[in-house]
């Protein structure tokens, strides 16, 4: 419960800061809608030539687009700004302020900054998902819904752990401002089902940069393609990666000298 209250506090602080700039909301809304329109226009072009993309129907790909916006929005809402600030604070020593707080440093570092207008992406993603689900209606049962929720949570944890691993490289390499862009660039490939890519790229997008677990696997659940063993595998990977990320974080903290030690 404490964690939820903490997240709510950081959200309120971020909101208070941004509410003064209401124009930013409209700009963000415009850009998000433009991005969504681009995705859908791309789908429209592709599906004039075929009715299946690598085994996925148009509605299933639309659901994938919804998950893409949802997960991307969640990342840009809290994870990206917070970890960018973490990398900055490791470099200039202000991580000390985070470390003296009476709460776990990894938690605080992960939620310290919130860009509230990125929630438009999350809302749009949920909207698109709802439309896709309405169109797929009778094919999506309780089992798929549970698989979807499990896959989404597992994917979220995997992506979080991956970002923590990327960000903690700052403890050793210090000047890593651009490293988070690695995920952002590869994430663009998540607009399409990872199964259409050639083997080596599919491997890279699943096990090197976990875009597949973040977007394709949950969307597969909705399409009924996801088997329970894969869900189990994703959950196991999520737990494993979270533990590894935690270990690397603690190792990194021990290396951290601070601004005045």
């Amino acid at each position: 419960m404490r964690y939820v209250r903490l997240l709510w506090t950081f959200f309120r602080v971020g909101a208070m800061g941004e509410m003064a700039y209401r124009a930013n909301f409209f700009i963000q809304l415009f850009e998000s809608l433009l991005e969504l329109a681009t995705s859908i226009a791309g789908l429209a072009v592709i599906f004039t030539y075929t009715d299946r993309l690598g085994g996925w129907t148009p509605d299933q790909v639309l659901a994938l687009v919804g998950v893409f916006f949802l997960v991307g929005g969640a990342i840009r809402f809290v994870l990206q700004p917070s970890l960018e600030q973490l990398i900055e604070s490791v470099r200039d020593g202000t991580l000390d302020f985070t470390l003296v707080k009476p709460e776990d440093a990894q938690l605080v570092a992960s939620i310290q900054r919130v860009e509230i207008w990125k929630l438009t992406d999350v809302v749009l993603g949920i909207g698109v998902l709802a439309v896709a689900l309405a169109r797929m209606g009778e094919h999506v049962g309780l089992a798929q819904a549970v698989q979807f929720a499990a896959a989404l949570v597992a994917g979220g944890v995997i992506v979080y752990s991956f970002w923590i691993l990327l960000a903690t490289s700052a403890f050793w390499l210090v000047r890593v401002e651009n490293i988070l862009v690695v995920f952002q660039s590869m994430y663009e490939a998540g607009r399409w089902p990872v199964s259409i890519y050639p083997g080596w790229l599919r491997f890279g997008l699943t096990f090197v940069v976990p875009v597949g677990f973040a977007v394709t696997v949950p969307a597969q659940a909705l399409g009924g393609h996801l088997t329970w063993p894969v869900v189990g595998g994703a959950a196991a990977l999520a737990v494993g990666l979270f533990v590894v990320a935690r270990l690397v974080w603690r190792l990194g903290l021990r290396r951290y000298q601070g601004a005045s030690s």
């Binding site: 681009t38 791309g42 072009v45 030539y49 993309l53 651009n178 890519y197």
Partner: protein, 267 residues
């Protein structure tokens, strides 16, 4: 420094130094430039596989040829100047550019060209790897390959002048990111980045031809794919030259207006 060649040579040395220093950024840059054509190539290959081998006259190997050529043409013609000007206006470094004794466009062009020359080996290596993996098939006749060289140079001039002029919107508003995004979405569809223009609906193809977008990257790639007749090619080259001229004129007008607005605000 009074000579433009001197300026360009100096900018080359600077860009090389910067690039060698920020090696990680280079890797990230390479990933993004490689990934986009690769993603669309995979998508269209999947579509053609689902249709029994080909879509609108393109089979998997021809898609491979199209997107590899597109990646190369993109490398030669792309600019990042619109984001650069947004950054400069927000951070106030535009004033420094205006104080120089030469027109700022030279520094920008020199930076653009030298960065591309330095990274060209990387892109060529990536294209070679993609060629081995996807086995593209080429049908271009010799005259088309010859016409490719002037057309890609005209495309570079066109795209640079056009985007430099659009970048000057930063003189009037700080919120250019939304404008930039609209432009890049238009570029994605209308210049053949997402799909060969022949696969798009006819009205879109018409808009792309009437606007300068087709002449920025699609036309040189179409030449290399061997899908154009000699008369088409001549018309295309003329269209490119015409747009280059139009953009050069627009640039002068917008620049003069922009500088007046900028200096009037007291920056």
């Amino acid at each position: 420094m009074r000579s433009l060649p001197g300026l360009y040579a100096q900018q080359f040395r600077t860009s090389l130094a910067v690039m060698l220093q920020y090696r990680a950024s280079l890797l990230i840059w390479l990933i993004s430039h490689l990934l986009e054509p690769l993603v669309y190539l995979s998508v269209w290959s999947a579509v053609s596989a689902g249709r029994g081998g080909s879509v609108g006259g393109y089979d998997a190997h021809e898609f491979a040829a199209y997107f590899i050529c597109l990646m190369l043409v993109n490398h030669v013609t792309y600019t990042w100047i619109m984001w650069e000007y947004e950054y400069r206006v927000r951070h106030g470094s535009l004033s420094f550019a205006l104080l120089r004794p030469v027109h700022p466009i030279h520094a920008d062009l020199a930076d653009n060209l030298s960065s591309k020359i330095i990274t060209l080996p990387l892109i060529l290596a990536a294209a070679a790897v993609l060629a081995v993996l996807f086995r593209p098939s080429f049908h271009a006749p010799a005259w088309a390959a010859a016409a490719f060289v002037p057309s890609v140079l005209l495309a570079l001039a066109l795209r640079f002048l056009m985007e430099w002029t659009l970048a000057l919107a930063a003189f009037w508003t700080t919120r250019v990111s939304a404008l930039n995004r609209v432009y890049f979405v238009a570029l994605l569809f209308l210049s053949g980045q997402m799909a060969p223009l022949s696969l798009l609906p006819p009205p879109i193809r018409l808009v792309a031809t009437v606007l300068p977008f087709r002449w920025t990257t699609s036309f040189p790639v179409e030449l290399l794919m061997g899908t154009l007749t000699p008369s088409d090619a001549l018309v295309g080259l003329a269209a490119q030259a015409g747009w280059v001229l139009a953009c050069a004129v627009a640039l002068r007008l917008v620049w003069r207006a922009g500088v007046r607005v900028f200096t009037a605000v007291g920056a």
